[in-house]
Each structure stands twice: as C-alpha cells, then as structure tokens.
Amino acid sequence: MFSFDPYSPAVDADPFPYYKRLRDDYPCFWSPEAQMWVLSRYADIVSAGQDWQTYSSASGNLMTELPNRAGATLGTTDPPRHDRLRGLIQSAFMKRNLESLGEPIRAIAKDAAEELRGGRSFDFKDFSSKFTVRVLMAALGLPSGNEAIVDEQTVREKAVLMVQSDPHTRAKGPEHLAAYNWMQDYASKVIAMRRAEPRNDLISNFAQAEIDGDRLDEREVLLTTTTLIMAGVESLGGFMMMFALNLADHAEARQAVVRNPAQLADAIEESLRFNTSAQRFRRRLMKDVTLHGQTMKAGDFVCLAYGSGNRDERQYPNPDLYDIARKPRGHLGFGGGVHACLGTAIARLSVKIAFEEFHKVFPDYRRVAEQLAWMPSSTFRSPLVLELAVG
C-alpha cells in the first residue's frame, strides 16, 4: 500500500521516488498522515497556483503552519489584500532596485570565503550561513555592526528551527515554537527601532505604510517582518546548500561554472528545478474540485508539491538528469502565480555572486559524507550539514 508522509525522514532525505509514484499512479492523492491532498504533476500545480480563488492561501501556506500567521502575511493572504500588501514591499525586491546591493553582497561573499581559505575540509554551512544572514541584514536594513541587537548566527539558527516540524507528532514542537516566538520578538524590536528613528529601509517604510489611508494591522507588520527574515535567511541559505551539493556531486557542471562564471545563472535555474529547497506548500479549497477521478471537498487542504512538478517527465524530458544546459523555463522552484517568491531577483543575484567568490577560493571540492543529515521539515528540504573536501 503506497503512502506519502511529508513528515517522514525518508521523504526529507529523498522525496523523488515518492513523487514519481504520486505523479504516475496517484496524481490526486489523499495523505492521511498530512491530512491533505497532494498534487504532484506540473500542469496540476500550475493550474492550482493560478486559481487563488479556489486554492486559497488565507488559511496558511506552510505545510505545518505556525500559529497566528495565517491572514497576516503575503503568503497567507489572498488578493486583493495580498496585492496591496505586496505592492508596499515588492519594489525593494525588483531587479533594477537591487543594483546598489551588488557590491556589498560581493564584499560579504569575499569575506566569508576568505575566512575558510586554507581549510582542507569544512561544512559549507560555515560559508552559506554567514553570507545569508549578512546579505539579509543589508537587504532588509536589520541592525548590524555597532547597532546589532542580537548575534547574527542566532538569527540564522532560529530561522532554520522555526521552519522545521516534528516527524513523530507531525506538528511543530516546543523548540520550533520557541524559535518562532524568538523571531517575532526580534522583529518587534527592529520595528520599534525603525519607528523611533525611521531610515530609508524596507522595515522603516513598511512599519509606517498605509493602505487606503489605514495603517497596517500591527499583526500584519509584525508577522510579515518575521516571515521576511525567516524566508530570507532559511530559504536563501537552504538553497545555497542544495546548489553546493549539486555542484559537489556533478564535477563537470562545477568545472563549467568555474571556467565560465556566466554559466552560473543557468546552473542556478537548473538547481531550482532539480531540487529546490521550497519543496511543498499548502492551499485550502474554497469549493469542491474533482481532479483525476477524486473529489476534493471545500475546506480540504491541498499540498502543491513544487519539487515533484519540477521532476515531471510530462514537462521536462529526462527530469532526473542534472543538466545545466537545460534552461528549464517555467520551473516551480520559486512556486508560481500570485504567490511566487518575492525574493526571486535577490536570490538569483546573491547566489550567483556568492558562488563566483566562493569558487575563486575553492574551485575544486567534493562531498565527504555519502549520507546526509536532512532538515526535518514538511515544507523545505536541505541538508543540515554539508561537509566538503577541497581538491
């Protein structure tokens, strides 16, 4: 009897054989463990992502939702409220508005790579976590340097912890909720600082923004800020771990991008397709939907398995092959539709610069451990540790 339990450590480690069974034999599958339907084919996920009226995000979008978040963030509201909230934030994340961040990001990458120079082996996380937190602090205007109110690596640890879930209880554990509370507390201190002395940064602007003359709800300001920090730090860091893993495992691809860093952009897109860290998100049905002979009822939750859609042979020939020449347009590595990732441009820019600089110090590396320790998460997927050997 086939089962698909997104809380299972086996799925954390390698969801792809399960996804293939889902796509081929159970394209509209009820998972009793997750208590939701699972859509796994590319076309079905795209259709659902387009149809926000039917596939609502207002009851939460994380597979295992954090308390009180639904309805208060970009990812957990539907249009038109979603569009107004997003309108306040997205210009800061548009490609042309990120140009001034290019040099600071490069300096951060250089520093983080230089700190590791001379090492024969190291955990890639030592690079990616330093890089990620510092980039996010620069991009969001979080207090850093003399102004810092917390240790930067604590921000990362809490962000990574709050997206995890307990494989036994299939819920958030006390440590995950404590991390979430810590992050809210941190966000609220930053918001208070920026309100007291506003600067020209994202959080200052957002904390004082209005929609139709009304100030934003305090819960929206707090939880959207909390989510931006979480998503920025965890998703960027998680994807960098996956990208490093792909390049460590595929020597030809790594050699190609070291030789010609312009090819990094293509390699990033292929990694977003091949094993994006954003594997699964959740929606809730606003009406009955019949698909592949199954009727899903209004009120039911539905998992959109982006990581599976990206491996759908109905869309991508030979999908289990990692091929940086593929140019997999239309991939679901950032989701899709109105809720597609807000940070696509900064993610692409940051990862490209990070690996340009990392490869200047470490052009050759390979994976040390055959078995990796994977993060326990029903939503995201990345290794907790990625030991690399140099040369």
Binding site: Q90, K95, G336, A340
Partner: protein
C-alpha cells in the same frame, strides 16, 4: 482549450492550446516560447513578460489592474497602448485565437 498565438520579434510564430486559467506567460514558458521570460514567476513583479495584444481583441481582455499598469512602467521595450503583461492575462474561451506580439527584449 483557447488557442493563443505568440509572434516573436523575429517573426517566428507559435500557436499553443492553453488550459483554461493558465496565464499567457505560463503558457509561453512551459512551451518554449523564447520571447517571454517571466522571471518573477507570475506575481506581477518584474515586467519580463511584456507583450503587445492584437488591438482588435483588446476589448476581450479584462482591464489591467493598477499593479500591472504600474509594473508596465518597468518594461524594457517600448510601452504601447496595447502593452500588457502576459502573466496577468488568463486564458479563457473568450480569448481563443488571440495573437500577441513579443518585444525584442525583456530585460
């Protein structure tokens, strides 16, 4: 399923039968139409799916939202009265046979 024809700046034409509800951007990127990028994934946040809609059919489309009109300011190619973002146009039977022309550049 509505048929949509994309005409690239080179003159190359591709006609695709789109599932109802798919955006014209997703139809293009999922089917190898090169002249549409859709970098932001369809959230109306990048203006790299700029297209020119057949003027005679403009009335068949729902009007552009404020967000779309604002984002069109960022389009790389010349904005014209029939400029739209393909991610904001959903395929419906009313659009069957629609022709959209794509600009020379999206970035």
């Amino acid at each position: 399923m509505p048929r949509i024809t994309y005409v690239e700046a080179t003159g190359a034409e591709t006609t695709i039968e789109l599932a109802e509800g798919w955006s014209l951007m997703q139809g293009a990127t999922a089917n190898g139409v090169e002249g549409i990028l859709g970098e932001c994934g369809g959230s109306c946040a990048c203006a790299t799916c700029h297209c020119y809609v057949d003027e005679a059919r403009l009335g068949d489309l729902p009007a552009a939202s404020e967000n779309e009109l604002a984002m069109l300011e960022n389009a790389a190619a010349e904005r014209q009265p029939n400029s739209r973002l393909a991610c904001q146009i959903k395929a419906t039977s009313a659009l069957d046979g629609l022709v959209v022309h794509l600009p020379e550049t999206q970035e």
